[in-house]
């Protein structure tokens, strides 16, 4: 199989997220950065599929040069190739992002052949647009289902892949003809951590760059702001066993009864 996983570099914040003085960015001065969590699971899914079925997995990211850190992190857990679609680092709207990435994927496929599967994250941890993968899949003319928590090639008809999605009552099963696209969700797997050897190997991997851009779409960020009520206070439901009714009220409210 040939698999492409797309990842986004995002800050790894704590319980409170600070905003820069110009109100345009998350203040990441003292924050680490990570692959957006759904996409981290996408990388793991790609690595597992390659381990099971052979082939080659490529990871691609669009962003500033520093995104190389996340690309190498993906290589360190088993992705074979990495591609950066460089930008100036400013936030791009979903249409522009999708257009640029579509162009980049097309360029890559023209050079190296089509991907059987393109794995997106359900949504990015920061901007949360819920649409970039769907736009790209549509532009490429490929089937796409978001919110996937299971992938299976063995149980599918030839040339297809089974994709599971959780709903309240159980699991929906989709069977997509490949080449296909999916948006995966955290919980599909437990992403492995890099090993030291994997990390050292990733340092030696070559970074490919594909220049691609899109036009700005109709959605524009004006500024970031903190939500009006940040409820950080712990609500004490009570003391000792007498708190049981209040606890069960909460369980009911959360719908886990």
């Amino acid at each position: 199989m040939r698999i492409l996983a797309l990842v986004k570099r995002v800050p790894a914040p704590g319980a409170r997220i600070n905003i820069t003085a110009d109100e345009q960015y998350v203040d990441d001065k003292n924050l680490g950065h990570a692959i957006s969590p759904h996409e981290e699971c996408g990388v793991e899914a790609a690595v597992q599929l390659i381990e099971q079925h052979g082939g080659e997995a490529t990871v691609m990211s669009m962003g500033a040069d520093v995104s190389e850190e996340q690309l190498r992190a993906a290589v360190s857990v088993g992705m074979a190739k990495m591609v950066l679609v460089p930008t100036d680092g400013t936030p791009k709207d979903p249409q522009e992002t999708a257009a640029a990435l579509t162009a980049a994927i097309q360029q890559l496929e023209a050079e190296e052949g089509a991907f059987d599967l393109i794995i997106f994250g359900n949504e990015s941890a920061d901007q949360g647009g819920f649409q970039v993968g769907i736009r790209i899949a549509h532009a490429l003319g490929r089937p796409m289902v978001n919110g996937i928590k299971g992938l299976d090639v063995d149980g599918a008809s030839d040339g297809h892949i089974l994709a599971n999605r959780e709903i309240d009552s159980g699991v929906e099963v989709y069977e997509l003809p490949m080449p296909a696209c999916v948006g995966v969700k955290e919980g599909i797997n437990l992403p492995r951590y890099p090993t030291m050897k994997g990390r050292l190997a990733s340092k030696k991997a070559e970074l490919a760059t594909v220049e691609a851009a899109g036009e700005a779409g109709g959605q524009a960020q004006v500024k970031l702001l903190s939500p009006p009520e940040v409820v950080n206070e712990t609500v004490i439901l009570g003391n000792g066993p007498d708190a049981a009714p209040a606890i069960v009220d909460l369980l009911e409210e959360l719908g886990v009864m």
């Binding site: 790894a12 914040p13 704590g14 319980a15 409170r16 997220i17 600070n18 001065k29 003292n30 924050l31 680490g32 950065h33 850190e69 492995r192 951590y193 890099p194 090993t195 030291m196 050897k197 990390r199 050292l200 340092k203 950080n232």
Partner: protein
């Protein structure tokens, strides 16, 4: 939770290992009404304690660190929050093997069980190690792993159970208030927090990496900087998981790669001190809410760790295939000289520092501060290298702290020579002769901030004249030159001119000055204008606090002269005890008065040629202080000697210094006068005479009777420590005596001549047994130096009374080998009758 109080006797800020142990120790010492606050939650408030690797290697070359490490390890053991995992420091180079021999020597000194292992023996204890990359190991079975958070909880609970402590977590300090105190000083008065304002008699800053920021709120400084120590947890590994234990294999310190591997349950924690120094400003540390983990577990900067991974895999191949599950840039505290900051801050009375302390010394150092607050000085150990008062103002600014932390971080696992000099922040304070000394190609050593010429390369011809040579072993030769021996012999034959400008010169004046001087000093100070006293200052328990000279320079004026290493501590001590009636004024004269030393058999002739004054022994007897003119320059002449030859300390104004230097050098040119460095003044000249040095022979654990500095009579006036001093005198022959020993043969097993460095090498019985007294004080080398006159190594140290008799045969350990030595006695090995001082 109880209501936040508006008043307390003591407020301790910081509930990490230090603050928690401190409240426990305060409660044991009878303190009540203590409030402990922390801005984070409990039991892990988010400081350095929470991510510490929690192991204790009890061997250190430094006495305070070693003994407080052992002390702390025992406190953890007493609470059953400790496991003896054992630990091995492995060597990949011959230089490190030599260092491990030095570690064996320190282990012997501090009574820590240790052995050298072959690579195969290391492999037996650590089956997953690649023994092919190591040359050997230093194994210490009592290396322990502790639970620092739980220990903190137990100490807090102990104090709370007694009803003397209230604890408030999630309480942020917004301000620390002070009020005016006598003598223009400030005293701490209250702590303002987000839960309210609390008035306090004492405030202790024990908040680790945030300590300087909190001290600054009160106008005080605690010179430390938060710095990164990288740590990665990799696993799981079956062989580790199978131990079913937090730790089942010895900790391995891979010293030459600045890394350690410490089992942590089923995985391995790889910690590094090998990356670049990564320093942060306290304001840049995220809050508990902002931090992804805790504030001091900052984002891992992988590229800094990459080189460490390669060498770690080399040592333990299985590390390469295990997953890196958790990796942090953990913050810890670094100070400008790599030692902690303990004691009362010099800027604000009753504001205490218990900072820059790691988990391995936490309980012991907390005890030090608690005792300090209780007794006026610690009892468990002499704290002078940790005393926050040791820092001069130039050592307290950010530029200095950062530069020094940047320089010494990599030395955490380094091999640091006892005489090793700093590269950064040099020439902070230079004497008026600096340009002349530079022209003479002086080798400068730094005494805290002061540059001092250790020897002058312009004297290289003396090496040939006296037939001297380099030392055989590079380590012994490092930071040393045979020129210093040449300068010594020339002084004994002719004369030497010493730049003593780094002397710290203070003046106390006013109607209460003489009474105050007597209160500070053991010996009588005010015996008339023009008299002097060489005297110890004691703490309230009768141990040494200082050792210096005092001169009555006027009816109501006393000059105090102390060493460059002690100026900060002594200035603090004076100011702390200034009479509340403001009858005494303190002035620091250091940078307006310069001192030259002129000693040697030709010194009288040289000085005599430049003055009409009577500078004969009759006109200027030993200890006298007279004001005369030398080459037309007004000077204060003080007949004294710290090097065993006749001569003077000559004081003049800073401006007149260069002219005085030039006049003396010119007059001395016909008398063999040479500029002579501190190698002679502080080491060879001094040790030949057995003169004691504060911080070496003289520490608070010893008293003047033991040190041989008790005078026949005790003055009538009261002084600090007098009661204890009298008791020590009345007790008769002390248990230990400070003696000089001569090393009979300094040839090692490879036939090489070796030269002890004075780094706490153990002095042993003739049978090689470690010697301790009833207080647990160990016999060890306090100073070592080569005697050019006797052509032998000399060492000094305290030995039991029964071994203090001249001729007693003993052994000294150096680099893990034993050398025979013989007690000279409590006096001088050279010119014991002091005939040369009278010339």
């Amino acid at each position: 939770m109880s209501e936040f109080p508006s008043k307390a006797n003591v407020v301790v800020i910081g509930a990490g290992i230090v603050g928690s142990c401190l409240v426990g120790h305060l409660s044991r010492l009878g303190w009540e009404d203590i409030v402990l606050i922390d801005k984070g939650p409990l039991p892990n408030p988010g400081g350095s304690t929470g991510h510490a690797s929690n192991f204790i290697f009890p061997v250190d070359h430094n006495k305070e660190m070693a003994l407080l490490g052992v002390q702390s390890a025992n406190q953890y053991r007493d609470l059953d929050r400790s496991v003896d995992s054992g630990g091995i420091e492995v060597a990949r180079t011959q230089e490190r093997m030599n260092e491990l021999d030095r570690r064996m020597t320190s282990a012997k000194a501090w009574g820590v069980e240790a052995e050298m292992l072959t690579p195969a023996e290391v492999k037996e204890l650590v089956p997953f190690i690649n023994e092919e990359v190591i040359m050997g190991g230093f194994h210490c079975p009592t290396v322990s792993v502790v639970d620092s958070l739980d220990t903190g909880t137990l100490f807090r609970n102990e104090a709370m159970d007694k009803g003397v402590l209230q604890v408030f977590a999630n309480t942020e300090v917004d301000d620390v208030e002070t009020v005016d105190a006598p003598n223009g000083q400030q005293k701490v008065s209250a702590v303002v927090t987000n839960r309210g304002r609390i008035e306090a008699n004492h405030v202790v800053v024990a908040c680790g990496v945030w300590s300087n920021r909190v001290a600054n709120m009160a106008g005080a400084t605690i010179p430390l900087v938060p710095a990164v120590h990288q740590m990665a947890d990799v696993g799981p590994m079956d062989i580790l998981a199978e131990t079913n234990n937090e730790i089942g294999y010895p900790i391995v310190r891979d010293m030459d790669t600045f890394c350690y591997e410490r089992q942590s349950s089923g995985s391995m924690e790889v910690g590094s001190y090998g990356h670049r120094a990564i320093l942060h400003h306290p304001d840049d540390i995220p809050s508990n809410e902002e931090a992804a983990l805790t504030p001091t577990e900052m984002p891992f900067t992988q590229e800094d760790f990459d080189p460490q991974m390669e060498t770690a895999i080399e040592l333990m191949d299985f590390l390469g295939d295990a997953e890196i599950k958790y990796a942090i840039n953990g913050l810890l505290s670094l100070t400008p000289d790599a030692m902690p900051c303990l004691g009362e801050t010099v800027e604000v009375n009753n504001l205490w520092s218990a900072a820059a302390v790691w988990v391995k010394e936490g309980p012991g150092m907390a005890q030090v501060v608690a005792e300090w607050m209780t007794y006026g000085y610690p009892r468990v150990i002499d704290p002078h290298v940790s005393d926050i008062a040791r820092f001069y103002p130039d050592e307290r600014n950010e530029e200095h702290i950062w530069a020094r932390a940047d320089e010494h971080f990599i030395k955490t696992y380094g091999i640091v020579h006892p005489a090793e000099q700093w590269v950064s922040r040099r020439n902070l304070k230079v004497s008026p002769y600096y340009s002349r000394q530079e022209a003479l190609d002086a080798m400068f050593f730094q005494a805290r901030v002061w540059e001092r010429a250790q020897w002058y390369n312009s004297n290289a011809d003396l090496v040939e004249r006296y037939g001297l040579s380099e030392r055989e072993v590079e380590w012994d030769n490092r930071w040393w030159s045979p020129i210093t021996i040449g300068e010594h012999l020339n002084m004994r034959e002719n004369a030497g001119l010493f730049d003593l400008t780094p002397f710290q010169v203070f003046e106390i004046s006013g109607p209460g000055a003489c009474d105050f001087a007597e209160y500070l000093a053991v010996n009588k100070v005010c015996k008339g204008v023009g008299t002097s006293a060489y005297t110890p200052w004691l703490n309230h328990d009768g141990g040494f606090h200082s050792d210096l000279t005092m001169m009555q320079t006027g009816e109501d004026t006393v000059r105090i002269v102390t060493g460059a290493f002690d100026g900060g501590r002594d200035e603090y001590w004076i100011k702390k005890h200034l009479p509340a009636d403001e009858s005494v004024t303190f002035t620091n004269m250091t940078e307006s008065v310069t001192t030259l030393g002129l000693w040697g058999p030709n010194a009288p002739a040289i000085l005599g040629s430049l003055t009409d004054a009577d500078v004969s022994y009759e006109g200027s007897p030993y200890g006298s202080v007279i004001n005369i003119e030398v080459a037309g320059i007004p000077v204060t002449l003080f007949r004294v000697s710290y090097v065993g030859d006749t001569g003077w300390e000559i004081y003049t104004s800073w401006d007149n210094g260069p002219a005085l230097w030039d006049a003396l050098m010119e007059a001395g040119s016909d008398h063999g006068l040479r500029p002579t460095g501190m190698g002679v003044y502080a080491v060879s000249g001094r040790i030949e005479k057995g003169y004691r040095l504060m911080g070496a022979e003289l520490e608070s654990e010893y008293n003047p009777v033991e040190a041989g500095l008790a005078r026949p009579k005790v003055k009538a006036a009261d002084f600090i420590g007098k009661e204890a001093y009298l008791a020590a005198r009345e007790a008769g022959d002390p248990e230990v005596h400070m003696v000089t020993l001569i090393v009979d043969d300094n040839t090692d097993s490879q036939g090489r001549k070796r030269y002890m460095q004075g780094g706490n090498e153990p002095i042993l019985t003739a049978d090689g047994e470690r010697i301790t007294d009833s207080h647990g004080r160990v016999s060890r080398v306090t100073t070592a130096g080569y005697s050019p006159s006797l052509e032998k190594m000399l060492i000094m140290g305290y030995v039991p009374a029964e071994m203090a008799a001249p001729g007693t045969q003993m052994k000294v350990m150096y680099m893990n080998e034993l050398f025979p030595c013989t007690v000279v006695g409590t006096g001088s090995a050279f010119d014991p009758e002091n005939t040369r001082l009278k010339g």
